[in-house]
């Protein structure tokens, strides 16, 4: 029972981080039609920038606010200068362009902050542990478990009810029609890409006190969020949520019950979903 709850919390906290990354990835794909290989690098950049800000202003909350914003600004620049030129081209070019951006960002991080590990302390309120049965558990992870759904709900409300959210959905459905009724689609695309990468940066900043920072952290999470997004259904919100939670739980319980087969499970799930439901669990069949 005890280990069950600990595994559950571990799985949920990792799943929530995964959700933040995946929801940005899936939004960008749903609107722009580009699967962004560099998304994990924006996640990593969010973590490193949060750390950098904390060196200047020693407050985690300032880092959490500023870090992802800088990531979003950079992303807006990337969309305007580079990504915009490959819409409607062969997917090989889109994937390769974002892969090139990944190479630049990953090595850039390595050059600026070095190849070693960095540690970010959680804020004083969330530092420390609480006792769980006979064990202790870090408070910060519990915070993650709650922060995920809160951000998710806010996003959902934004897309559902706000004027901008409705415009984005309109542009995703039919860009030409949206342009016809006066929506500035190119600007909107820039904003959506920036929003998606802001979410990635947010996930990175939130992950910073949870795991150690290293230049490889983007590479691991990008494939896992690809799996979440593709298996959940590209462009689907609930798909990203359920997919991320399921993968997070799979990983924490898998290590206990499945041992070394566990590493292959995400890929087996991905292949199985694509074979049975080609557009993902929550995807629209066309």
């Amino acid at each position: 029972m005890e280990s069950f709850i600990i595994n559950l919390l571990n799985g949920l906290s990792w799943g929530m981080l995964l959700f933040l990354i995946s929801v940005g990835l899936t939004t960008v794909f749903g609107v722009l039609g580009v699967l962004n290989f560099a998304h994990g690098s924006f996640f990593m950049l969010g973590a490193y920038l949060c750390m950098q800000v904390m060196h200047i202003v020693p407050s985690f909350w300032v880092g959490l606010l500023v870090g992802p914003l800088v990531v979003a600004l950079l992303a807006a620049l990337v969309e305007k200068q580079l990504l915009r030129r490959v819409y409607g081209r062969d997917i090989a070019f889109q994937l390769l362009l974002t892969f090139a951006i990944l190479l630049v960002l990953d090595d850039g991080v390595r050059i600026i902050w070095g190849p070693g590990y960095h540690v970010v302390e959680p804020p004083a309120v969330l530092a420390g542990v609480f006792s769980l049965f006979d064990n202790t558990y870090p408070i910060y992870r519990l915070f993650l478990v709650f922060a995920g759904p809160v951000i998710g709900l806010m996003l959902w409300a934004f897309f559902r009810f706000s004027r901008w959210g409705k415009r984005i959905r309109a542009a995703a459905m039919d860009p030409e029609m949206a342009e016809g009724i006066g929506i500035r689609v190119p600007l909107l695309f820039t904003a959506v890409f920036a929003l998606g990468c802001w979410l990635a940066g947010m996930g990175g900043a939130l992950a910073a006190p949870h795991q150690s920072l290293a230049p490889a952290m983007g590479e691991r999470i990008i494939i896992e969020s690809f799996i979440v997004v593709v298996a959940g259904g590209m462009g689907s919100f609930p798909g990203a949520f359920i997919g991320a939670l399921a993968l997070g739980l799979f990983e924490s319980f898998g290590t206990v019950f499945l041992g070394r087969v566990q590493m292959a499970i995400p890929y087996i799930v991905l292949a199985a979903v694509l074979l049975i439901r080609p557009r993902g669990l929550f995807g629209q069949e066309d």
Binding site: A92, I101, D107, I223, V230, M263, I268, A271
Partner: protein
């Protein structure tokens, strides 16, 4: 193609081959080893281009078959196998069989979904290599303690000599390229191009698109197995990281760098890739940032790739000259 162009091309090919054969006499040993790697990765990418450039399928799991080839060679030779050629043959056969099974499931998907499902299967193969420690040695890899010598008509050639290894790889790569060339020129090759251009239309005239795609996938897998087997011999090692998705990105990258619409494009891309690596690693350890910076303008402004753009440019020049002067 007219007769003069054909003769010109043949002469170029013969000159190129002669140059490569004579390379050990001209180039220092270090560059011979780099060239060996270029040839192996170029063959890998050229096989991959049968999928991307000719059939229009983006596979992100080709490293899986490459690794299957390398592990087959390493396993056979470290368990008492005595023939390098037979172990390479086995590498191709095992890669072909793996490609039939995986391809059968993958070719029903298109575009991004094909890319993702191949990535998934490639990573499954990676996990097997990484976690089946008893067979593969896990993340440490499987070293080749000894490579048996090749024997031709009584004379023995030791592959521990880098120059002999280079010659051996060159011969194997030429055979692989020749097979690919025959395939591309055949009616089957033309059908593959037709799939890329318009697969509905091809299906309407009665072709079995799925079967054709599977055939292309299996051939690309077999070539990847051959290249992987050569890579295993060259490095005297098979490690799981040659099956990781980031390794699968290499043939994609080389193909687009060189030019996916052109037969020798991926080989040129491999040469550019390693040339860039050699140039940049003198300056910095983080050479990938330069690769990324070089790749961005190629993707945006030269979608035909570097060799492809050069060829296209050469074609336009004589046409202009033929116009009568005023």
């Amino acid at each position: 193609m007219n007769g003069a162009a054909y003769v010109k091309k043949t002469i170029l090919l013969i000159l190129g081959t002669a140059l490569l054969l004579a390379a050990p006499a001209i180039l220092p040993l270090y560059w011979i080893m780099i060239t060996t790697e270029v040839l192996i990765m170029g063959l890998f990418a050229m096989g991959f281009n049968l999928l991307l450039g000719y059939t229009g399928l983006l596979s992100f799991g080709q490293a899986g078959f490459f690794g299957v080839g390398a592990y087959t060679v390493a396993l056979i030779l470290s368990h008492g196998g005595t023939s390098v050629l037979l172990s390479l043959g086995a590498a191709v056969v095992v890669a072909l069989i793996t490609a039939v099974v995986i391809g059968y499931l993958c070719v029903r998907r298109d575009e991004i979904f094909f890319a993702m499902i191949t990535l998934g299967f490639g990573m499954m193969l990676y996990t097997v290599a990484h976690n089946w420690v008893e067979l593969t040695g896990g993340s440490d890899g499987l070293p080749l303690m000894m490579v048996p010598p090749l024997s031709f008509f009584g004379c023995e050639i030791s592959l521990f000599d880098p120059v002999q290894m280079y010659r051996f790889v060159l011969v194997m790569v030429i055979i692989g390229i020749w097979i690919l060339w025959r395939i591309v020129q055949s009616p089957f090759g033309l059908m593959l191009t037709a799939i890329r251009e318009n697969r509905e239309r091809l299906a309407f005239v009665g072709a079995n698109v799925r079967q054709l795609r599977l055939a292309a996938f299996v051939i690309a897998g077999g070539v990847a197995g051959l290249a992987g087997g050569l890579f295993g011999l060259f490095n005297a090692m098979a490690t799981p990281d040659i099956m990781h998705w980031s390794f699968s990105a290499r043939p994609v990258l080389m193909t687009v760098l060189g030019g996916m619409g052109i037969f020798f494009g991926p080989m040129a891309g491999a040469a550019i890739y390693f040339g860039l690596e050699q140039m940049m690693t003198h300056l910095t350890q983080n050479w990938m940032i330069f690769l990324g910076l070089a790749l961005i303008p190629v993707v945006i402004y030269f979608p035909k790739g570097i060799l492809g753009s050069l060829v296209a440019w050469k074609k336009t020049v004589p046409q202009k000259r033929k116009k009568p002067l005023p």
